[in-house]
Each structure stands twice: as structure tokens, then as C-alpha cells.
């Protein structure tokens, strides 16, 4: 694992991804202290609305006179919390499904994998929108919907890894000395599947941030006055082309954070699986 980490850091592009992600985590953790006007998460100042970028407001102000830089910083926390919750919830569903379906060839595994296929056959956003509508629109609904649409990816990944590992010699040996299947799965198969899960989770973080932003933009995710990036871009539309800074900076924040996770995910994939590594002679 440490060799994989060393390989990861040697590639400047993956290292950049890691730096971006770590930077975002630091910003999210210390958001209230880093934001110049932390109270702008909720307070509005109508007298200073739609000011262009200046020394006072580096990213300008929005339609309610709130400092956009502060809201971008505060929004980092929201974006990461949503992404982590969704990915963890999707893992909580997908990993057991993948393990159970991958371990044996019986009707349970058939049903589970067909179910996975069905969920994969619907475009995630449409499914998330549909779920969002059937429950009450809001950020919690969006998170549930995103988790319900992302778990099949974990199920597929873990399924493939379990299938690969269950034929391995050490698994046969463990079964031979009488180890229980749950024990083998949790203590031996799962750790071996972790690199693949980690890669999938990292890419899932980027994907979730992007999809959550779309939901926010469409008005079925975060609700005002939350400093959500997607929501900010939606609110900015009525003030174009005058307030160009209003949608630009929240959008750039999305781009940067998703880019960070994607670069890191790519790097992890290469590091975890040397066979797929880009040869760079």
C-alpha cells in the first residue's frame, strides 16, 4: 500500500489531485475561520448587491449583497459533507450486495445482480430526480436519491473482485480449515477488494459533487439560503450578463474540486493496478 502511495505521489498529475482534495478538506474544516464574512451564509446586505470583484469582495457580491468568496468557502463544507455521506451510504448498500452476489452462484446472487443492472439501466440523474419528486425535495432527499443511484457501482466493483478472489488459493485454504463464509468475506476478501473500492469511491466523490450541484441548480437539491454552489449558479442566471462574476466563481469551485477528485482517482487506479499504469518511458 505504501509502495502504491509512493507511486501515486511520483506522478505530478495525481499529486496535484491530492493537493486539491487536501486543500478543499482544510478549507471545509476551517471554513468559518477562513471566510472573510462567515455570517454571509445567511445574512443579506441589500445595499451592496451585485458588486463586481474588488479588494473588499475578491469574488464580488451576489444578488443579496453577500460576499461570494465567503459563500464559496462555506459551500466547500456542504459539498464535501454531501459527497462523503452519499458515497458512504452507497458503499453501505453496494459492498454487502457485491460480496453476497459474488460469493455464490445461486438465485440470490442472480436477483441481486439483475437488480443492480436495472438501477444501472436508468440514467442516474433521472432516477435521482424521480426519487426526489416522490419524497420531499430538499438536500436530504437529494442525498438519499444520490446514494440510491450510486450503490450499483460499488456492487459491480465488489462483485467482480469477489468473483476474482473466491477462486484464489488462500480462500480455498481458509474454507478447508473450516472458516465461516462471513469471516472469509469480511476479513479476507473485502480487504483485498479495498483498493478497487477506494478508487471507485474517489471517482464517486467527484461524480456526486457534480450531480448534487446539478440537483441544486435544478432546484431539487439544496434550498436557499444554503451557500450551495449549484444553487448559486441558478440564482445568478437572472443577473446576466451584468454580474458575470456571480456564476463564474461557484462554477470554478465545482470544477476545481471535481477535477481534484478525478485526478486523484485516476492516480489511485494506476497505483492500485500496475497493469493499467500509463507507461511513461
Amino acid at each position: 500500500m505504501s509502495a502504491a502511495l509512493a507511486r501515486l505521489l511520483r506522478d505530478p498529475v495525481s499529486a496535484l489531485g491530492l493537493v486539491i482534495v487536501l486543500f478543499a478538506v482544510v478549507v471545509a474544516v476551517f471554513a468559518p475561520y477562513l471566510a472573510p464574512y462567515p455570517e454571509d451564509a445567511y445574512e443579506s446586505h441589500l445595499l451592496q448587491r451585485l458588486r463586481p470583484p474588488s479588494a473588499e469582495f475578491p469574488f464580488g457580491t451576489d444578488n443579496l449583497g453577500r460576499d461570494i468568496l465567503s459563500r464559496v468557502i462555506l459551500g466547500t463544507r456542504n459539498a464535501l459533507v454531501v459527497a462523503v455521506s452519499v458515497v458512504v451510504a452507497a458503499m453501505a448498500i453496494g459492498i454487502p450486495v457485491g460480496l453476497v452476489a459474488g460469493w455464490r452462484d445461486n438465485w440470490v446472487s442472480d436477483v441481486l445482480m439483475r437488480l443492480t443492472d436495472v438501477f444501472l439501466a436508468v440514467p442516474q440523474l433521472i432516477l435521482a430526480l424521480a426519487l426526489g419528486q416522490l419524497m420531499r425535495p430538499g438536500i436530504e432527499t437529494a442525498m438519499v436519491a444520490l446514494a440510491l443511484t450510486y450503490w450499483p457501482f460499488f456492487a459491480r466493483t465488489v462483485f467482480a473482485e469477489t468473483r476474482r478472489l473466491r477462486g484464489a488459493l488462500f480462500v480455498d485454504a481458509l474454507a478447508g480449515i473450516g472458516a465461516r463464509p462471513t469471516r472469509i468475506l469480511l476479513l479476507h476478501v473485502l480487504p483485498n477488494a479495498l483498493p478497487a473500492v477506494l478508487v471507485r469511491a474517489t471517482i464517486g466523490m467527484g461524480f456526486t459533487i457534480l450531480t448534487a450541484a446539478i440537483l441544486g441548480f435544478l432546484g431539487v437539491g439544496a434550498a436557499p439560503p444554503s451557500p450551495d454552489w449549484g444553487l448559486a449558479v441558478a440564482e445568478a442566471r437572472q443577473h446576466l450578463p451584468e454580474a458575470w462574476w456571480f456564476p463564474t466563481f461557484p462554477g470554478l469551485a465545482i470544477l476545481l474540486l471535481v477535477l481534484g477528485f478525478n485526478l486523484l482517482g485516476d492516480g489511485l487506479r494506476d497505483a492500485a493496478d500496475p497493469r493499467l499504469r500509463r507507461s511513461r518511458r
Binding site: 440523474l125 424521480a130 420531499r136 445568478a236
Partner: protein
Amino acid sequence: MARFVLRRILLALPALLGLVVLTFVLSRVIPGDPAATLAGDAATPAQIAEIRAQYGLDRPIWEQAIVHLRQVLTGDFGRSVFSGRPVVEEIAFRLPATLELTFAALLISTVLGVGLGLVAALDHNGPVDHLVRLLSVGGLAIASFWLAIMLQLVFSMELDWLPLRGRIDPTLGAPPDITGFLLLDTLLAGRLDLFWSALRHLVMPAVTLALPGLATIARFTRSGVLEALQKDYVLYARAAGYGRFRLAAIYVLRNAITVTVTQIGLLFGALISGAVAVEAVFDWPGLGTYAVQAILSSDYKALLAVTLVVGVVYAVVNVMVDVAQALIDPRVAEEMS
């Protein structure tokens, strides 16, 4: 080949049936009362009961399921709560708009993506390669709705080169309605002015929608070509004296493209998802805006129909992808049968 196609279609049916069941289960099992949702916040219990009866929600669950299945199979999705028009009619009007947009995007991303991927692979670790790599990671990280707004800001609002929204300039009169595909219909009607207008309206939405796909295709083509270039048969072909261009553009690309074609199938789902946001920004009268409208107005019949139609389109695309695979690589068809 005909047997292969038939087999593929039969294999797709269970997933579609599963989708019908899924939409039904979701609409019943998810916490919350669809009747209450439909009736709105201020509804009295009597109103809710009335809506429940009107939609058959008071019947036993298995009866509802059969009704649902029968409705789906006969294409009867009921009337939209929002507009009062039959859902099927509205979808028939909006599906071609979305398909026109997604096909245009797919065309752009495939042609440019394959080209860029090939060029990048041939310039392995060179400047072009790095540029394409950056583009392919960046293209997947950009939020489509944001890119759409930025393009509008620059090319419509500031430069005034391209129209801001819509499918066609309404002041030119109503477009002909033959297939629903405007580019095709305007040409069939011989209206070049309308064709030009439709084309100009299509540019920004299609480019926005194409970018993530372009990134994915470029990336997979690049790695596919690089992998194929390592193969013994490439070395052999070089030794036997194949020309350099032919080797790269035809001989290797055909092997590399099998991976790319699989990706195109997977991409189509992402394209439809992306279309929701892109259509919303450009006021494109397609299924995406319809879905958003349905959500915001709690139009659950419309939404179920959209989900199903998209699922069917998705399944059809995947069958087409498999057929394309079989045409490219003769071994695929033989493995299947």
C-alpha cells in the same frame, strides 16, 4: 447476424421489465403518499381521498401493479397533471428534440474524441498527448449547466454570435413537422433559412452536452490505441511493411474502437442525464425540461413515463452498441451464439 440481433433484443427485455417494476415499486414503497403529494400541501383529507380514487391508488397493490403494467404496455400513461394533455402526446413531441440534441452531441464527441485520442496516442507523452489528457480530465470535471451558462454569457450575451435559447427562431414562422427532427424536417421542406436557424440554435447545447463524452471517448481511444500498438500483430504488420498511416488510422483503430464503442453505450445514459441540465439552461423543449417541469409540479405520471422512455431508449442504444461491436470484431458475434 440477424440471430445475434434478435438474441440481443431478447436479452434486453428482462431489464426493461425490471425497470417497469422498479418504477412501480418506487412510486408505492417510498415513504410519502403519492396522493398527498399530488394534492399539494393545502389539501383536505377528502381531496386526498378523491385523488386516491381517481388514480386507482385505493385498490389492492397487486391490482395496481397489473394496471400499471397494462398501461405501460399499451403506451397509456394517462394525462399530465400539469397540462392536462395525454402524456404520450407530450413525449412524442419532446422525444425528437432530445434525440436530435443527444445525437448531435454524440456525433461531436465521437468524431472529435476518436480523433483526439488517436492523435494523443501517436504522440505518446508528447505535448499533444498531455494537452488531450488534461482536456479529458477537465471535460469530465466541468458542470454542464455552468459551462452552458458561461457559453451563453460569452457567445450570446457579449459577442451575440449565437442564439441564447430555444430550438429555432420563432419569428421565422412555424417549422415543418414531419419527423420532429428539425434539421431533417427543414431540409425536407426545403427551408434553408429555417435549417440555418435550427443549426445555429443547436451549436451551443450540443457542444456543452458533448464535452464529457468527448473527454471519455478521447481517453478510451487513446488507451485503446496505445494498447493495440503494443500487440504482436502491429509489430508484424510493421515488419511486413504496412504504411504508417494505414497502420494507425485503420489497422489499429479498428481494434481500439471496440473499447470506445462500449464506452459510447455507457455514455448515452450520461448524455441523457446531462441533457436535463443543458435543456434547462437553453430552454430546449425536450424530455429533460419536461422531466424537470414534471418534478417541480409533482406530475408523477409524466415522470414515470419519462423514466420508462429513457430506459427504453437506453436499452435500444445498448443493443445497437452490441451490434456495432459484432460488426467490428467477428469474434464477438460468435461468442454470443
